[in-house]
């Protein structure tokens, strides 16, 4: 019997990683659709038909007025989607880079969380080493079996800050950390989940390391035969943990 798990990859308004993100979802086993925001407005869809909702990376609204904020308004007021309720019902939500910024702006991780400009003031494209600490987010499916991974970061606003330290571990749970904090994030945080563990937001790009050849170290292999990249594990985990429709 075939498993019916669907992934929706949202795009439009300056999102720009939808193709490779959809490719990763498809490879992991999802029935995957790239949905342009304008299609959602024209023929509204219910989240009941979705197992994994992905908001990919990009520059929605050119990062004007703060990254992710205007796109979050669209999700909230034009679609009226209730992502925490979706997660409580077993749906998975993955926000990558700009998608993470959108989730933060939506408030799914609480009100007092922000992704500010990197401490250096610069956009950074760099491969980074990451540690996963599942103990803190043991309910979360995304990082099962992952201890350390390499992924590229590509962002100007990825510095996680909170208005009060007491939020850490209550309105959200950090679970992915930089080895060499590149952007000045609180506690080197690179990724967090909501209290259900089913909404996951991260600044590094797992969809950019699906094939081994995407890593700069690939060319050291003598035969240069392509392999599976570290980031793919996150999509495989999402597939395993996703509800079947």
């Amino acid at each position: 019997m075939s498993v019916n798990k669907t992934a929706w990859v949202i795009t439009g308004d300056g999102i720009n990683c939808e193709e490779e993100t959809a490719y990763a979802c498809k490879l992991a086993g999802f029935k995957t659709t790239i949905i342009h925001f304008s299609e959602l407005l024209k023929s509204p869809r219910k989240l009941d038909d979705c197992s994994l909702l992905v908001i990919p990376g990009g520059f929605s609204f050119g990062d004007e007025l703060g990254s992710g904020r205007v796109f979050a308004l669209k999700l909230k007021y034009q679609l009226g989607w209730d992502l925490p309720a979706f997660a409580r019902d077993g749906g998975l939500v993955l926000g990558i880079c700009n998608g993470f910024q959108v989730l933060v702006a939506l408030g799914v991780f609480g009100e007092g969380v922000a992704l500010a400009h990197n401490e250096s003031g610069r956009f950074i494209n760099q491969w980074v080493e990451l540690k996963a600490e599942r103990s803190r987010a043991f309910d979360s499916p995304y990082l099962k079996g992952i201890a350390a991974i390499s992924l590229p970061i590509r962002h100007g606003e990825g510095r996680l800050l909170v208005s009060s330290p007491s939020q850490v571990g209550s309105s959200f749970t950090p679970c992915l950390f930089y080895e060499n904090n590149p952007n000045g994030s609180l506690d080197s945080i690179a990724g967090i989940t909501d209290p259900t563990g089913r909404i996951f937001g991260l600044m590094p790009h797992p969809e950019a390391f699906i094939r081994g050849s995407q890593h700069p170290g690939f060319f050291r292999n003598e035969d240069r035969k392509d392999t599976v990249g570290d980031g793919f594990k996150i999509f495989e985990n999402a597939f395993k943990g996703a509800r079947s429709l």
């Binding site: 193709e19 609204f61 760099q126």
Partner: protein, 1184 residues
């Protein structure tokens, strides 16, 4: 509807115009009656024909009664010759005390009041006059001005002609102004300010401070302190609660919405910078959209909410001089207003919004036609023709002006302003490439000095483009060439399903003035070139090459130009802002430092695109086919037209002269809006896949004038109606709309049957698209505005009528004198100096700020980053799709240093470098099916009146031809920029700075499988390292000489050997070379630099074989030259490979072995890899 009473005494032309405006709906008013001071005047008949009551010769009392009894709102004078008394005027004031009597006067009051104003203006010797709408006060023509409109009457011969030009302007201005006065919009103003919650969150201050210090290298950050905040002002017809504005704008973790108390106490040190109306203000557009989303308004309602973003700067310094420098650099005079606060204005700021005031307090009057203005050229002298061209920034020379004069004399009419603008844009050097198409007479001495390679150059070249670049492509036909030189970009078949296109552009002049804006529009422009190629392509990579002056000139530079470091940071930031949000990876590039780029930097922006080779449901089916049918709609897609970037094409066809006010006043600075462009791209690709349009092109240089003018050649005609062009701001004249280079716009030919679907999809995807007429087949490019024809150009004259140029070229090579050192340079010192020199040092600080991974297809990136270490790569490569085996690889070659000696060698070397770069990375070469193509970009000092530069140009053209023909590689696209000179002053003396004649060659190739791709860094200890190639190096023109090192070795330019090159490259381009573990070419800095750079990524070492090390000269170690590669191979393959190279006739030399100990050993010398890497990274600004 409000009521007006019109008073007239004459023929009633303005009265008639008001009636017509009412009929059209542009004047929303009830015209109650006409009062006349003369019972038989012309106006009476007009009133009767409209069935309007006429009040004949009324007294003021009768008028007052009529006005009161009938609740007349405004009294409108339309040529009323009776002077109104003060008591009458006072009786008709509104609650603000303003006069309710309005008049129109045919001059720019206060100039030329009273009678016969057009005649007064004509005889006064001014060049322009205008019309004024004002409130009537007792003193004649002196009441408060409501609206004014100017027009130029250069070339007109009588006051009657001036009046003929002025009347339609009067008519339109009057109707628009009255309409706005009678129907004021209900508007509410809001203002919200955002202050960083802590100083470390004040990115605006950090950015401003670092930019300011780059611009003022004599200061440090101790001497001043900046704080910034953001302000948004909103004018809305809808009520917006402050909570909603906070929800949209305020990030509670990062921002506060009230000023810290110290701001209030030091208001005189606070400056507010806002955009001038009509300038691109991306944050404001995003806010308008956010408010529409939040309030649930119609997404296409662009009018009811207007926002403006401004920035607040608090400037603290004890030094008044520093303060004035800071204040000056806050704003760009062409883009911004700056307001300084006082205690009082600071307290009142919320009630008097800054950015919007100028747009809302008085009716902005606009959209008027001065396009019917004529230039009578018939009897003009040569001087007058040239003066006319210069005054209007047309950049047409005398021969060209005379061709225009002759054409219009034959037509027996005068050209309109709009026609002259279209001709000037189309014939500009920027668009027409007149130099490349002209005839050049060339001479050189019969005997060349020693050290110069011989080259055969013809004495006469008719069209350098056809004789060199195009002739190469003609004589090297390839099955995979789908489109060359005719489209926006060359198109190559890559797989049976996929085609790839590529284009490289320059944006030099705009980047000299505003580097950020120049570069962001440069990269945005080349993306549109790609989007507009064939039936539409998706950009899949960027490349960028910057040529700037070394930072040592930051303090030593002519007046009026920016410090080189500031230019570099500006263009870097511009390419980042244009490339990253577009979602296109930046994978290749180069950075060249040379003092010759101090006056004008060279900014090359390139992009490659992917398109399906055919789409069955598309009207043209084949990707490369460009076709338009008469009746197809001209649809403008994307951004709106503004005042930004008017005259860019003609401006870039002139030298940069900071002392010329005509140039200084041109509104040439454009701003980019990558977000709007990204939305437009998403839409275009969707519309393409649904087959909703026939073809398209971008709006770049020359705006609609060029895009429609060029597309019109496909159907042989166009009828362009500018009336409904969406505008960023009111006040643009139609000929300005026609030539504006406002960004983010595509011009699309849409078949009539698809128009509705096309426009609907566009609306759904939040993209503005507007039909602006149709393509025709009558041979005419016709332009209309508000029902009138403002240009009617014969397409053949427009595109073929530009006279050919003739240039004279003379080459006089200078002898290569020996450079004998006072003291011998040590190998170690030379190596460290080279690795840390600007041209060779790591570019990590630039590269890491560009996204080179987006789209998930990047295979080869600019540098190999392993943890905290990096080695440079030779070229960039991306897979066509995430699931594709095939990649496209792109590399560049740019070696302008050789132009100091010989542009022929420069061109050959640049081409060789580009080709070696892609071959190093695994590009295929050597069979007819191997896809490898070239692009040329010439950036030259003006060769028109300079025989040397003209000779360099000819030599470079033939240098490229020789090399490309020998290798059998076609050119597929190219561009030239020919006026890269700067004239200005330094230390009170005039200076001229011309760029080195510079050719950028871009090579585009194919890597058929991931396993054939390779990087340049050494991989593993124990691997053997070889040089493959002729090893004929030279220090002449090398980086070694560039950084001032001297040597006793003989001086000669490196010589090419294309026969040998073809053999070597055929092996490098075959599958056999897949066995190489690393490969790079020997280029800047020579063998020792290449070896050093290969060690960094994995922290390895290298030991040169002792026989090589002992005999090596400075030329062997640091010399540069043609055709040679540095490769590493695993030990077990070494013997077999050596045999294979020998049997294939490839010269090779074993250099030594990779070691695990991180040291570079060369005979008695030994250097630590770590120290070499530190030197190489000394300029990377701490970037990992």
């Amino acid at each position: 509807m409000k009521r007006i009473l019109v008073l007239a005494s004459g023929r009633g032309s303005n009265f008639k115009a008001l009636l017509e405006a009412k009929a059209r709906g542009t004047l929303r008013a009830n015209i109650f009656a006409l009062g006349v001071s003369k019972k038989d005047c012309g106006a009476v008949a007009i009133a009767k024909s409209y069935g309007l009551p006429v009040i004949v010769e009324p007294t003021e009392d009768v008028l007052l009664d009529t006005i009161r009894d009938n609740q007349i709102d405004l009294v409108v004078l339309a040529g009323y010759m009776k002077i109104l008394s003060k008591s009458f005027i006072d009786a008709l004031r509104d609650t603000n005390g303003d006069s309710r009597i309005i008049n129109i006067h045919p001059s720019l009051l206060p100039s030329f009041p009273g009678k016969d104003s057009y005649t007064q203006a004509f005889t006064a010797g001014v060049k322009e006059t205008g019309v004024t709408v004002h409130r009537v006060e007792a003193a004649v023509d002196s009441g408060p001005i409501i609206a004014q409109r100017s027009f130029s009457f250069v070339g007109l011969k009588s006051a009657t002609e001036v009046e003929e030009l002025g009347l339609p302007i009067e008519h339109e201005l009057y109707a628009i102004t009255l309409d706005q006065l009678l129907n004021p919009k209900k508007q509410m103003h809001y203002r919200i300010e955002l202050y960083p919650k802590s100083r470390d969150l004040d990115q605006g201050a950090a950015r401003f401070t670092s930019d300011f210090l780059r611009e003022n290298p004599d200061l440090d950050d101790e001497s001043f302190r900046i704080e910034t905040a953001k302000a948004y002002t909103i004018t809305s017809q809808h009520e917006i609660s402050p909570l909603i504005l906070k929800e949209i704008l305020l990030n509670s973790v990062l921002d506060a919405d009230h000023a810290p108390t110290e701001w209030k106490n030091t208001s005189e040190s606070i400056y507010e910078r806002s955009y001038r109306p009509g300038m691109t203000d991306n944050a404001a557009r995003a806010l308008e959209e956010a408010i529409r989303i939040r309030l649930g308004l119609d997404p296409s309602d662009h009018e009811s909410i207007r926002a403006a973003r401004s920035d607040l700067f608090k400037v603290e310094t004890k030094n008044e001089k520093i303060k004035s420098r800071i204040v000056k650099s806050i704003a760009h005079p062409l883009l911004h207003f700056v307001k300084n606060f006082t205690q009082e204005t600071w307290d009142e700021r919320a009630t008097s919004p800054v950015g919007l005031k100028s747009q809302t307090t008085k009716p902005s009057v606009s959209e008027l036609s001065s396009a019917e203005e004529l230039y009578s050229l018939t009897d003009l002298s040569d001087e007058a023709l040239l003066a006319l061209s210069k005054d209007n920034l047309w950049a047409l020379n005398l021969t060209e002006m005379k061709a225009v004069q002759g054409h219009y004399t034959r037509l027996e009419r005068a050209p309109t302003k709009a026609e002259m603008e279209v001709i000037a844009q189309t014939w500009s050097e920027h668009c027409k490439h007149k130099i490349f198409r002209g005839t050049i007479h060339y001479s050189e001495p019969s005997q060349l000095p020693e050290g110069y390679p011989a080259a055969k150059i013809p004495h006469e070249t008719k069209s350098l483009f056809k004789s060199t670049i195009k002739s190469v492509t003609d004589s090297n036909p390839k099955p995979w060439l789908l489109s060359v030189f005719s489209d926006n970009a060359g198109i190559l078949a890559f797989t049976p399903e996929d085609a790839v296109c590529i284009k490289v552009e320059t944006h030099n002049s705009p980047s000299a003035i505003d580097p950020f804006a120049g570069a962001i529009t440069g990269i945005g422009g080349v993306h549109r070139d790609i989007i507009g190629t064939g039936f539409g392509a998706k950009p899949i990579f960027n490349l960028d090459v910057f040529c700037v002056a070394p930072s040592k000139f930051d303090l030593d530079r002519p007046d009026g130009i920016l410090p080189p470091s500031r230019i570099l940071e500006g263009v870097r930031a511009g390419v980042e802002a244009g490339g990253n949000p577009a979602g296109i990876p930046t994978i290749a590039g180069a950075l060249v430092f040379d003092s010759s780029y101090l006056g004008k930097p060279l900014i090359f922006c390139g992009s490659g695109g992917l398109l399906p080779r055919s789409l069955v449901n598309h009207p043209v089916v084949q990707c490369e086919k460009k076709e338009i049918k008469p009746g197809d709609h001209i649809v403008m897609v994307g951004g709106r037209v503004g005042r930004d970037g008017i005259h860019g094409a003609t401006f870039s066809s002139l030298a940069l002269d900071t002392s010329d006010p005509a140039l200084a006043n041109a509104t040439v600075v454009q701003l980019g809006d990558p977000f709007t462009q990204k939305r437009a791209l998403d839409f275009i690709l969707k519309a393409r896949d649904q087959g909703l349009f026939r073809t398209l092109t971008d709006n770049g240089a020359g705006g609609l004038s060029s895009s429609v003018g060029e597309l019109a050649t496909l159907s042989n005609g166009a009828r362009l109606d500018l009336t409904h062009t969406p505008l960023k701001a009111l006040g643009l004249r139609p000929e300005e709309i026609l030539v504006s280079e406002s960004q983010e716009r595509m011009t699309v030919a849409v078949p009539p049957e698809s128009l509705d679907k096309f426009l609907e999809l566009s609306r759904d995807m939040n993209v503005e698209s507007t039909s602006l007429g149709t393509f025709t087949d009558n041979g005419v490019f016709q332009v209309l505005y508000q029902g009138k024809t403002i240009a009617e150009l014969d397409l053949e004259f427009l595109h073929e009528g530009c006279p050919d140029l003739t240039l004279s070229a003379k080459w006089e090579p200078t002898p290569l004198l020996p450079l004998t050192p006072k003291k011998a340079t040590s190998v170690g010192d030379a190596l460290t100096a080279l690795l840390s020199s600007e041209n060779i040092a790591s570019k990590a600080s630039l590269i890491s700020q560009y996204d080179h991974e987006v789209q998930g297809c990047s295979l080869l990136k600019p540098e190999t980053q392993i943890g905290e270490h990096r080695s440079p790569n030779q070229s960039g490569a991306v897979l066509l799709r995430p699931d594709s085996k095939v990649s496209v690889v792109v590399g560049v070659g740019i070696l302008p240093e050789y132009s100091r000696y010989d542009a022929y060698t420069m061109a050959e070397a640049s081409l060789d470098e580009a080709v070696r770069n892609v071959l190093s990375s695994g590009a295929e070469y050597g069979t007819p099916e191997s896809v490898l193509a070239l692009l040329d970009n010439f950036c030259w000092p003006d060769p028109v009146h300079n025989e040397k530069y003209a000779a360099d140009l000819v030599r470079a053209g033939y240098g490229l031809k020789t090399a490309a023909n020998a290798l059998g590689l076609p050119f597929v696209s190219g561009k030239d920029s020919m006026k890269n000179d700067f004239r200005g002053n330094q230390n009170g003396k005039p200076v001229k700075i011309s760029v080195l004649p510079t050719v950028l060659v871009t090579a585009l190739g194919r890597i058929s499988d991931v396993s054939h791709a390779r990087t340049s860094e050494f991989k593993t200890a124990g691997d053997s390292v070889f040089l493959i190639g002729p090893r004929k190096f030279s220090l002449t023109g090398s980086q070694f000489e560039r950084i001032g090192l001297t040597h006793p070795e003989s001086r000669h330019l490196p010589a090419s050997n294309w026969g040998l090159a073809k053999r070597i490259y055929s092996w490098m381009g075959s599958h056999r070379s897949g066995i190489l573990r690393s490969c790079s070419d020997i280029s800047e800095g020579g063998v020792l630099t290449a070896v050093s750079e290969s060690l960094f990524a994995y922290g390895l070492g290298f030991k040169f074989d002792s026989n090589w090390a002992d005999e090596a000269s400075m030329t062997d170690l640091f010399g540069e030259g043609f055709h040679t590669f540095l490769v590493s191979v695993s030990k077990e393959n070494e013997t077999e490979l050596a045999r294979e190279w020998f049997e294939s006739g490839l010269p090779f030399t074993k250099l030594g072995e990779v070691t695990s100990q991180p040291r570079l050993g060369l005979g008695r010398h030994s250097f630590s890899t770590h120290e070499l890497e530190t030197a190489w990274r000394s300029r990377s600004g701490g970037v990992v």
